[in-house]
């Protein structure tokens, strides 16, 4: 197949919702009695915090609503696949997508799925969706992939607690890839079984820090090697104008980049290269924390908001999910990509999150850490959280459940 004949699919629109509250990393470290000196290697300044009126459904809907609102009715009805990617599932059978589909008002002629592979799953779904759309089975169709999660980490997570985020990324995939035109067939995967981190119950996470970080690093090398085997002349140092990586915390991305540069014999250039090619993608992750499978798309939004992209440029992206599965892939962004992301106002919303004291944070966590636990009947007093909500009545909140059916309202 010649280059001219390659299918052109990718991300048409992208929005990130990262909650309504945040706590600074120094405040959280102080509150937990942890070493403030660790902030330097974490490279984190704050993290998003969930409220009792938020859950994986509200995060997903609040991320996707602006994307859907910008579509014509015909474009909205062309969404024939809705996938929620989450490690914060609400039920062993019923998907988060089933609720999200309803509150977004999508067509009933639409497939609904929920996928899970820790922080990798959304990227797997994006790639599968792009491949399906490129097959031509349904010309003009679109797919909406939403990575959505909530944080359950507490003091048991130690230094992972300040690095854990809350929110969702909504990714509209189609044949007019304004935000990111995927390089068709340019990808590399690397997966193997390991128990580096997991969520064995709806109330807590487990993690083996070294096993997880080391797997992330091995998978970057392994997935990029697979990418190189598929893409003639691919070069980590020269092929990509910018890099976007899954960001458990920005300090790990810096270490991972350094490892790859070493492997390419480019150690001496690593620091300057990191500043130039990676730092723009770390600005939002450093303010939000790990957004699970949405993290790489938060990093993409950060790049497009922070960098001066004046001409089309190829970028390399890396997604990693514990367990583990990973992918290195690439695509083209340009000035139109940056304009599309700017229109979403992500930076302004991050700045508008209300700052919490450690006491407020701990009080909220006492409630939110149970948010995924199925209860037949639950009532949440929304009035206690009005001060957090934006004006306009277009924000979905979680109000409780009745006979296990979760209830939501627009406020």
């Amino acid at each position: 197949m010649t280059a001219a004949a390659l299918p052109r699919f990718g991300i048409e629109a992208l929005n990130v919702y990262a909650g309504l509250a945040r706590i600074t990393v120094p405040e959280l470290l102080r509150g937990r009695g942890l070493d403030p000196g660790r902030q330097a290697n974490l490279m984190m300044t704050s993290r998003s915090v969930g409220l009792p009126v938020e859950d994986p459904v509200t995060n997903a809907v609040n991320a996707a609503r602006p994307v859907i609102a910008a579509l014509t009715p015909g474009q909205r009805d062309s969404i024939e696949l809705l996938v929620t990617s989450t490690e914060s599932g609400l039920d062993l059978s019923k998907s988060v997508a089933s609720y999200v589909h309803d509150y977004l008002g999508l067509s009933r002629n639409c497939r609904l799925l929920e996928v899970k592979q820790a922080c990798y799953a959304a990227t797997g779904a994006v790639q599968l969706a792009a491949g399906y759309l490129a097959s031509g089975a349904s010309p003009g169709a679109r797919a909406l992939i939403i990575a959505t999660d909530v944080a359950l980490t507490d003091e048991r997570a130690e230094y992972a607690e300040p690095a854990t985020g809350h929110g969702a990324a909504a990714i509209l995939v189609g044949g007019q890839p304004t935000v990111l035109a995927l390089d068709f067939g340019a990808f590399g995967a690397y997966s193997y079984e390991t128990l580096d981190s997991a969520r064995p119950t709806p109330e807590f996470d487990i993690a083996d820090v070294d096993r997880s970080l080391f797997a992330y690093l091995d998978c970057l090398s392994g997935s990029f090697a697979d990418y190189q085997s598929r893409v003639d002349g691919a070069d980590f140092v020269r092929s990509f104008g910018y890099l976007v990586m899954h960001t458990p915390f920005a300090g790990l991305v810096k270490a991972a980049h350094r490892k790859l540069m070493r492997e390419q014999g480019a150690t001496a250039a690593a620091d300057a290269d990191f500043q130039r090619r990676l730092l723009p993608a770390l600005a939002y992750p450093a303010l939000v924390g790990n957004l699970c499978s949405g993290s790489v798309y938060l990093a993409l939004a950060s790049l497009l908001d922070q960098a001066e992209i004046e001409a089309p440029v190829r970028i390399g992206l890396y997604a990693y999910g514990s367990g583990c599965s990973s992918e290195f892939f690439s695509g083209i962004v340009g000035p139109g990509s940056a304009a599309a992301i700017r229109a979403m106002g992500i930076g302004a919303r991050l700045a508008a999150r209300r700052e919490l004291s450690f006491a407020e944070y701990r009080s909220l966590l006492d409630v939110t850490r149970h948010c995924l636990v199925p209860e037949p009947d639950r009532v949440i007093d929304v009035t206690g959280y009005h001060e957090f909500l934006p004006d306009g009545g277009q924000h979905l909140v979680y109000t409780g459940s009745k006979q296990y059916h979760r209830r939501y309202e627009w406020r």
Partner: protein
Amino acid sequence: MTGHGQYRDAVAELVRGVIGTILPGVPVSAMTEERHLRELGADSVDRVEIILSILDLLSLDEPMSSFSSLPNLGALFDFLTTEKSSR
């Protein structure tokens, strides 16, 4: 002392030198065989840097996951000695 024992001593000296570079406040006397890098104050990024530097200096191409379960510095010295000897 056997050749293997001498080589292990050389590996241990190299590892302690790397730790001293990444964690300049830690004296060599604190880097005892039964301690883990965590106990010396190395955070996760420091541990990555220490292992990558060691692999560079020993010209070893070993997956990072090989180092996930080593319980202490003594086990690290043993592992590196065995890996280097087998190549």
